[in-house]
Amino acid sequence: MQQPSRSTNNSHQEAHQDHLPLGFLIFLLSESIVFVSFFVTYAILRLKSPHWFPDGVTGLDVSKAALNTAILIFSSVIIHFAESALKAGKVITFRRLWLFTVALGIIFLFGQALEWKDMPFGINAGPVGATFYLLTGFHGLHVLAGVILLLIMYIRSLAPGNYEAGHSGVSAASLFWHFVDIIWIILFLLLYIW
């Protein structure tokens, strides 16, 4: 039997560990697998299909999507600087850069909506429509969730002394944002560049 031995200083060693960083990372890795399943489905359907795009359509509009990609990548850079600012104790800078990231995210979402409006095919246009709207839609939902998460973190940042116990919430939100960006890059390569 594991006979516990006592130490009178034990109670002081029970400082509460912050489990959020590891837990959130595990969650994101798991969530990526959903996207992987969509990507794999898309790839197989496209490989097997003799005519992928409907008649009259030669491909997706790469240039608009490329702009959106650049915006999203840029926002990841900004959020990285925001996090660094917070680590260095510059809360005002952090908040500004954080809001800038939110704005970029919203611009991305607008760009996505505009693209959907002008798409030459709908969701019911065979596998091409199904995979395009599912992937971009699901991704867009994650961007929206990220925007909401970032806004919640922003509101919390207004409370004085919010970061005394560390800023793992901000790190987690930032990690989520990078995840959303990485998924988009893969999506862009698979759907637009291929």
Binding site: I44, L47, K48, P50
Partner: protein
């Protein structure tokens, strides 16, 4: 080890080897009567698996039962037994031997699979697509007859293109290799004749080739093996393996007169239900006639 224990162990091993061999021979009787060339290797494989499986099962069970009988704690004895934590040699042995066994079973199975020569999926893209390559190993010998098998919810129909016959019974010539082209009009079905030991899911919008050589005259049952909806249990057809004489007679007969359609069990049962006011069931796809 004591001599007595060595003799006991040797006896035990001999008994389980004899028992496993016996069960392996009996295994042929546990399968339905084989009626196709492909069935024989499957019978051999099953016998081999039962022999090995019985050996492992009886061996481990024997050790377990022996322990339960011999190592009971005395009444009221709450003391611990010897702290034996492991034995490296034993652990290596019981990892390596199973590894060898599964490699043996895998290669034996691989050989049987090649012997069976079953055709799987036909390529449906012109580009060589590794996800879709044919499972067919060898084209030889050539098929003497091609039969298109159409599955629909919930009945079978068979079309003989060389004679332009459509039938609801499947007739096969004895000892002739036939090529079956499996198609489905709606959902995934499964072509399964237990006596032939072959089974192939039928995927809609694909034609899947299956080759077989029936080698025993008789009447057998074709069933839908992949769950396909409400009346799935009734999707059956009679399979006749005919001598060449009988077969050509049937072909002539079927060509000249409209074949009496076998009762479509699913359509018949569905018709009974919808005309019965007391009967309630959830909405269902209507069986094709």
């Amino acid at each position: 080890m004591k001599l007595f224990n060595i003799i006991l162990l040797a006896l035990f091993v001999i008994v389980i080897i004899i028992a496993s061999n016996y069960l392996g021979q009996q295994a042929y009787n546990w399968l339905p009567t084989p009626a196709a060339l492909e069935a024989q290797p499957v019978g051999d494989l099953f016998s081999f698996l039962v022999t090995l499986g019985s050996l492992v099962f009886l061996g481990v069970l024997g050790m377990l039962l022996y322990s339960i009988v011999s190592f009971r704690a005395a009444k009221g004895d709450k003391s611990d037994a010897q702290p034996i934590k492991g034995n490296l040699t034993l652990e290596i042995v019981w990892t390596v031997i199973p590894l060898i066994l599964v490699i043996w079973i895998t290669s034996y199975s691989y050989n049987i699979y090649q012997k069976m020569n079953i055709l799987g999926n036909l390529p449906i893209v012109h580009l060589h697509n590794p996800l879709e390559e044919s499972a067919y190993a060898a084209e030889n010998p050539q098929a003497s007859e091609t039969i298109e098998v159409t599955a629909r919810q919930w009945s079978w129909s068979f079309y003989y293109p060389s004679s332009n016959i459509t039938s609801s019974q499947l007739h096969l010539p004895l000892n002739q290799r036939v090529k079956l082209l499996l198609k489905s009009e709606d959902v995934i079905h499964g072509f399964f004749v237990p006596n032939f030991r072959i089974k192939q899911d039928i995927v809609p919008n694909r034609t899947i080739e299956l080759r077989l050589t029936a080698n025993r005259i008789g009447k057998y049952q074709l069933e839908d093996s992949q769950f396909s909806g409400t009346y799935f249990s009734l999707m059956k057809a009679d399979v006749y393996v005919d001598s060449l004489d009988t077969y050509s007679k049937w072909l002539t007969q079927a060509k000249n007169q409209k074949p009496t359609l076998e009762t479509n069990l699913a359509a018949a049962e569905h018709k009974r239900y919808i005309t019965d006011p007391a009967h309630f069931h959830w909405p269902t796809v209507v069986p094709a006639n």
